[in-house]
Symmetry: C2
Subunit: 808 residues, 2 copies
């Protein structure tokens, strides 16, 4: 163990120590003030109950530790001219980070009404955890932040995301010991196996062991120090320990540890950039062990508080009613000697600001935390270079994601110098047919490489690790610092990051309402290996519900696309990669899929988001169709077109319209989503009163939930995935879920009025094929030949049905 508390010959001078301590005390004072006070901010008179907020909703426990880290980061940033960003992991870290931002002036620059004076201080206090004010957690509203401190677990992965391709940036990441118990955080430590000392910046983790969560000790804080050290070395770090409760001792130790860590980082980077990397570096980190609620009340009502779990929230809770608590609070506040820290106008005195850096070096002002200031247009190729030719619809097959891969490779190539584009995925980039990327870049990898390995590269910009949490967190940190990217995942396992995407959508929704936050690139998901094609994975890999999950969230942020073929996927991806401040979810299969639209048609269709395919239907334009066959998703589109073909041949008397939906939000009311159709648009496309048989990729109820207000809703009949899954063939999957072409034809017959003998016979013929399928698949393990060999416009299947109908 490397003990940073050993005396350092170049240690802090007394003046510097005094200035650091003054800054720290000022920040602590401001943190307590935010939790308790709504008036008398400078304690110019004795505290009275009416100075106290009516509802005490803050959290004190974590604040002094965060204030210490911020104070010492100020010092090294100023002394070294460091380009720095800090990710504040601990929950309820708001009071500390806001205090520091106010001290350094960035808060008042961002929110001029909260000025750096007595009046502003009172506003700062009052607004905290107050209706219409600011949250208790670090949040989008917090200058200098790229990380919401509410849901725990993601700080370290966000920090790595910020550091990738930012070679001159040092990202400090404060990790609470509560957060450290989560799965995502536990996995994040290994991110250092993916950090290139040449092209990436550095991450300096500060594990803050204050010992307690809400009501319990933390696991890591109760490990014997040697065991903790083993763990951190096992994670690939060189730990530096800072331990104590005497402020001066801790200041000296913290300054020494910071210097040592930054020196080591510089050395690693200098060597790597000069001589190349020979082996994976062991990066420094700091273990900071200080009391929870340090400098707060040691004891309240006879029970110990400081350095126990009782310091987590509001240590003195009865301040308005209990005069003893009120006096205790005043003693506590005065213990920071505010009269030494602020002048009579409430402005911080020069000593407090002595260690604070200036301009954009301040942690609250770094442009890296407001990535929209840095983001550049992504150089996207002309789609013509990647589009597939469609001479005869529905007869040629392409793997849509493989086609997309060539476009992504072009983007990767065009950003080779800029390095502001990455593709992340859980070990599935090749499996998801995006392998063209490897013609241009490798997979980031800093560990040992064997001769049999392929595509591993220290400077690779494809990131693969078997953790959706890391993929999501890395990309999120990367985007929030002004870059671009795409996350490709198996559709079902996108649910692993449900809660993370919630937080990102909330972040974007809030950011859009803050004028000072500039728009960042969208978070783009490519969900592939989807529910209908889990031939060898089966039931456990079948879940199309991520779309449902995101569509519950803020409509201003969320976009969902289901392109039915290769060219529509290109068009959608092009749009998503150019867009800002959205979460775009694209669902597209990787298996060979029929080409339906030329590039030109695909562009027009995707621009509309939903439209009729006149070539697929049989209506003549003189009247409303008898039935609308609607579809969304590649497999449902194929089944719908096959059904349309059967109807065209066997029920030519029916007027059929085929509608394809790419942009799911088009179905929503115009008032609820900016992409939503107006009612006249919707009625023109789907009719007001004709049966609509809608073949949807996912859970059928979603369509009802989107379209329930439409006039024609009562006539809407949706087929989709209803949790009937297993290891089986593609066609058997659609049969099991009643989404197959034959079932769709039966649905039409069941819903058009005025049944003819022809239609009744057709329905029976459809039922017969399904029954034959049932026997065939058990015997052969493959799909019926007429399904396997089907192409649009071929008549094999049709003839077959025709024959069974007795050659009528």
């Amino acid at each position: 163990m490397d003990d940073a508390t050993a005396p350092d010959p170049e240690g802090l001078g007394d003046t510097e120590l005094a200035a650091l301590d003054a800054h720290w005390r000022a920040a602590n004072y401001l943190a307590v003030g935010q939790i308790y006070l709504m008036a008398n901010a400078l304690l110019t008179e004795p505290l009275r109950p009416e100075h106290i907020k009516p509802r005490l909703l803050g959290h004190w426990g974590t604040s002094p530790g965060l204030n210490l880290v911020h104070t010492h980061l100020n010092r090294v940033i100023k002394a070294r001219g460091l380009d720095a960003l800090c990710v504040w992991g601990p929950g309820h870290g708001g009071p500390a980070v806001l205090a520091n931002s106010w001290l350094e002036g960035t808060y008042s620059e961002t929110y001029p009404d909260v000025s750096r004076d007595a009046e502003g201080m009172e506003r700062l206090f009052r607004q905290f955890s107050f209706p219409g004010g600011v949250p208790s957690h670090v949040a989008p509203e917090t200058p200098g932040s790229i990380h919401e401190g509410g849901e725990l677990g993601y700080s370290l992965t966000h920090a790595y995301g910020a550091a990738f391709d930012n070679p001159h940036l040092v990202v400090t990441c404060v990790i609470g010991d509560g957060e450290a118990e989560t799965g995502p955080l536990a996995a994040s430590w290994h991110s250092n196996k993916f950090l290139d000392p040449v092209h990436d910046g550095a991450v300096l983790p500060v594990l803050h062991l204050n010992g307690y969560k809400i009501a319990n000790p933390t696991v890591l804080a109760r490990l014997p120090e040697a065991e903790l050290d083993d763990l951190l070395r096992g994670y690939g770090h060189e730990p530096l320990h800072v331990t104590g409760d005497d402020p001066a001792t801790v200041h000296r130790a913290m300054a020494a540890a910071m210097d040592k860590a930054l020196n080591r980082i510089e050395e690693i980077q200098r060597t790597a950039r000069r001589d190349g990397v020979r082996e994976r570096p062991h990066w420094p980190m700091i273990v900071l062990r200080t009391p929870k609620g340090w400098t707060g009340p040691a004891e309240v009502d006879g029970l110990p508080v400081e350095n126990t779990w009782r310091a987590h929230q509001v240590p003195l809770s009865g301040v308005r009613e209990n005069p003893e608590h009120l006096r205790h609070l005043e003693r506590w506040l005065r213990s920071y000697r505010p009269e030494e820290l602020f002048d009579t106008g409430g402005r911080p005195v020069p000593q407090v600001l002595a260690c604070v850096p200036g301009g954009a070096r301040r942690l609250g002002a770094t442009p890296h935390a407001n990535g929209g200031l840095l983001v550049r247009e992504l150089p996207l190729p002309a789609l013509e270079e990647h589009a597939v030719a469609v001479d005869k619809r529905g007869t040629t097959l392409h793997e849509p994601t493989r086609v997309l891969g060539t476009l992504l490779a072009d983007v990767m190539r065009a950003t080779a110098e800029r390095r502001d584009f990455r593709v992340v995925g859980p070990d599935e980039t090749e499996s998801n047919r995006l392998g063209a990327l490897y013609d241009v870049t490798g997979k980031a990898w800093q560990a040992e490489v064997y001769a049999t390995d392929e595509h591993l590269a220290r400077d690779g910009r494809v990131m693969e690790v078997l953790s959706e949490h890391l993929c999501q967190g890395w990309l999120k940190g990367y985007l929030l610092t002004g870059r671009h990217g795409l996350f490709s995942s198996y559709e079902a396992f996108a649910h692993i990051v449900d809660s993370m995407v919630n937080q990102h959508i909330k972040w974007l929704r809030t950011s859009r309402r803050l004028t000072w936050r500039r728009p960042i690139a969208s978070l783009n998901y490519l969900l592939t290996s989807h529910v209908w094609r889990q031939d060898h994975n089966g039931f456990s890999h079948q879940d199309p519900g991520f779309v449902d999950h995101v569509l519950n969230k803020s409509p201003e942020v969320v976009r969902v696309y289901l392109p039915p073929d290769a060219n529509t996927l290109l068009s959608v991806a092009d749009h998503a990669l150019r867009s800002r401040e959205y979460v775009n979810v694209i669902v597209a299969g990787k298996q060979p899929t029929f080409d339906w639209l030329s590039l030109e048609e695909a562009r027009a269709h995707c621009a509309r988001g939903a439209g009729a395919w006149p070539w697929a239907g049989t209506e003549d334009g003189t009247r409303e169709p008898d039935v609308v066959l609607a579809c969304a998703g590649d497999v449902p589109t194929q089944e719908t077109l096959a059904a349309a073909e059967l109807l065209r041949r066997h029920a030519p008397e029916l007027s059929v319209r085929v509608v394809n939906v790419v942009d799911m939000a088009r179905l929503m009311p115009h008032e609820e989503h900016p992409h939503g159709m107006t009612d006249p648009e919707y009625d023109a496309l789907f009719t007001r009163d004709r049966p609509v048989i809608f073949a949807y990729h996912g859970y059928p109820w979603l369509i009802h939930r989107l379209a329930y207000r439409r006039a024609g809703h009562a006539h809407l009949h949706v087929r989709g995935y209803k949790e009937e899954g297993t290891t089986t063939t593609p066609f058997d999957m659609v049969v099991r879920n009643d989404l197959d072409r034959y079932r769709l034809v039966m649905d039409v017959v069941d819903r058009v009025p005025g049944l003819s003998v022809r239609l009744i016979a057709l329905r029976q013929a459809m039922a017969d094929v399904r029954s034959r399928h049932h026997d065939w698949i058990r015997e052969h393990g493959t799909d019926l030949p007429e399904v396997a060999d089907w192409t649009w416009g071929s008549s094999a299947a049709a003839e077959e049905v025709h024959a069974w109908r007795g050659g009528e």
Copy 2:
């Protein structure tokens, strides 16, 4: 590092070695057979293309390692009379576990048509990854399994769940090095801080480093061994390394490591149970490093396969078409010398079975893996002992979860000897007001305890760790081995386990269709600290969508309850804790909530699941009401009743019905969910044509998605959470989302036909109060007095409105 490869004086004899190797070769042969063959299982004739399956969908890479572990577990189970269970973590482990189950006879006992002979072997081969057959992953269909191997990350936490309160059980857990990269798995290692050597069994992790995922090396396999050792010691384990590619050497090393690990486990348990526990034990574990696809093709088409990522799936992929591949496959299969392993009837020869244990000791036969065989009725107290008295409705307040806590404490007390009930939660049991549990038991904790700690206990049956993943996994493992429990969580963060609950629902859905799997206790979620009461946490903690997520899944498994007060929560919890094979989601607040129903009324209301509250409405029974005010959830119920009161006073001419829904599935069609109302039931309650103003706890679209088929759907108007959240007061939250009492009254006025001057004035008065609220909250930071002081039947609010209307 402790090297298990050192010679052991009590090592394997040659006979035993030969027997182990024969068993291992037999299992390998059967694994390859499952992937490739549909005929000629015993290779009685040269392989021909028609013996090969038309679609090759298996995964070979992980099989030989799993077969090795199973073979050696057989040995120690038999030699030691061990009570053992194994959790097979690696994905696509099906072929190996099925092979072993068939060899030991449990497969044929479970599925008699797959007999332990030539005919059964051919069935075993053919059914694998075949339509209507069995999945590639370990799954519910696999005898001896409690763990689906499809979605990775949860094996170790399931293993711990199985070990808790099973003091005589040893749970081996094979962890793939791919899975080890996930967050949940990374966090699971620290589960050993919660395992009591006295009352719990042991977990023996076997980290299988075969080096590769689908297309990449794994992080842990490329750590230098000393660094990996640091990591594992940091996790609190004593690692034993077994490394090699020579079968005999590895057999000897594996046998020695198994013996050493089990001896150490016995020693830890013996000492702890005799002398008490002085310090947290450092449990042994095994690091098994063998080649991926070991014993498979070394090279195919000139590219290396064995010991590379190319061995992951089907090493020879063109067997039906490529004669060279076919010959290669035959050589590979014959390399196991099947003629030595099976007699001419296809039965395993005695040498193969020499190390296999008998009866219920076999891993495929242990009752712990079919927990329904072991589960006992939970001793639940009479609800009368815990119910709150309701003398005057809506005037007394209780914290519902605190009342529930006393019931749970009784259950905990009644199971003190049996030890088959646990409550898990992420550091929130006290915060969620379930603290009564600590009168009976403590929080499981094996690390150091300080004087200031409260309620920590080595044998505690409350489990707290800041990881929803661990909570979920522990409880799932506990339930699947025949015990009971409850998971309490902040509502928003239940999404963290979305994907895990998916897998459990799929497991239960599949298990229900397997007659040999007996029903286990339900997985019960208590979602509290819900969306409407995040006063200090704000937007990041607001998400009621877990209900939407689970309601997409199999209706035979999923139940969702929103009890509106303390007594209804008791009734719902009692029902959930008695139930079997469900996932019950209960959403209930922890904040003081009005008592609406006596226990007797609560029981009747919960039994119906939804019903009118005649005392709250104004209809006289002579005709259909003018409007239905429906509600689900505690906060919406309060607002609805307050709205009903306003209407009673200010619009007495309106006939109002108040309906409360507890069981959300009641809204679904009877054909889609077993709890769904028939249409006549629904119409009788909600009417077919009167406006229904539905105040719902969560996203409003859910109600439409459930009720879209109902006759009255066009008249259904739903209010709920629409992502308007922040740090604010409870009433401001409902105002921001248009769910408040005043808005509900306005909704009624907007929807009843035939507006009177009175109603128009009432609507304006409601708008005025909302506007006054807006100003008040910015000024005072608290709710309007008439809202804060409101109780059912008081007229303060009503008078106030009355006054504003000009005393009309």
